[in-house]
Amino acid sequence: MVPFEHTRIVVEHELEGAQAWGERHGVLLDWLSDCLQLRVTLIQPVTEAPYFLRAELKEYRALPPVWTFTDPEWQGTSRPFNFPKGVQATFGSSMFIIHNQIAVICAPFNRLAYADQSGPHGDWGGPPNWLNAGSAHIHAEAIGDMLQAIYRDFSLTRERMVKS
């Protein structure tokens, strides 16, 4: 169990870099320190549709954040309509996938990618192993790095994962 205040201090230190990244890319970050939640509005290229990226940071860094796209009220998780449709890129497969009818940002730095959280990966050693998991995949150890990684794949998308 990571103390709430410890997590808050760690996150706010990392957010200094993440905020600078957001300013360079025109992305607004909203940090809710009382509930350890980060809200990021991303605008999809071409469609200009807003997507609502949320990170729950309780237990961070013992465990990775819980990253997901939500509805405009920042509620709900894993609904495919709230996710962009992944596009294959030179980097390899997109991290936006559907697994057992659930949409997930599939990367080692997302708690929801692990099998014990209903994600696809039972081969990454569980969320506590996130800093060493999936070495052949995208690697991100700080919040700014994670945002850049998600934004990299998001910037290639042009539609929602499903129509409704």
């Binding site: 990392e14 290229p45 980097f91 991290m95 996938i97 052949a136 700080a142 850049q148």
Partner: protein, 88 residues
């Protein structure tokens, strides 16, 4: 500027984890992947698959196997460190 390695360029590199950029001086003949690895180390990255991309919207991801000259990187240019690994 020239030295024993040929023409050099000064590059400003940003990293998503840091609020402040770092400045590097590299020969134009340096491979992008080698430059990215050096920058990543300087920013404290110990793992991953570092690469570099240009500023702009959309940014252009540089080819790690090409030299800075082949990627037309000029003196004073700003680049951003990225990870080039895939998802899933």
């Amino acid at each position: 500027m020239h030295n024993e390695h040929g023409h050099e360029v000064t590059i400003i590199v940003f990293a998503p984890r840091s609020p402040h950029p770092k400045e590097f001086r590299w020969p134009e003949s340096l491979k992008v992947g080698e430059a990215a690895r050096e920058a990543a180390t300087a920013f404290g990255y110990q793992a991953g698959n570092p690469g570099l991309q240009t500023e702009g919207n959309p940014p252009r991801v540089l080819d790690n196997n090409k030299t800075l000259a082949e990627e037309h990187i000029h003196d004073g240019q700003k680049l951003e460190l990225i990870d080039t690994g895939g998802g899933v």
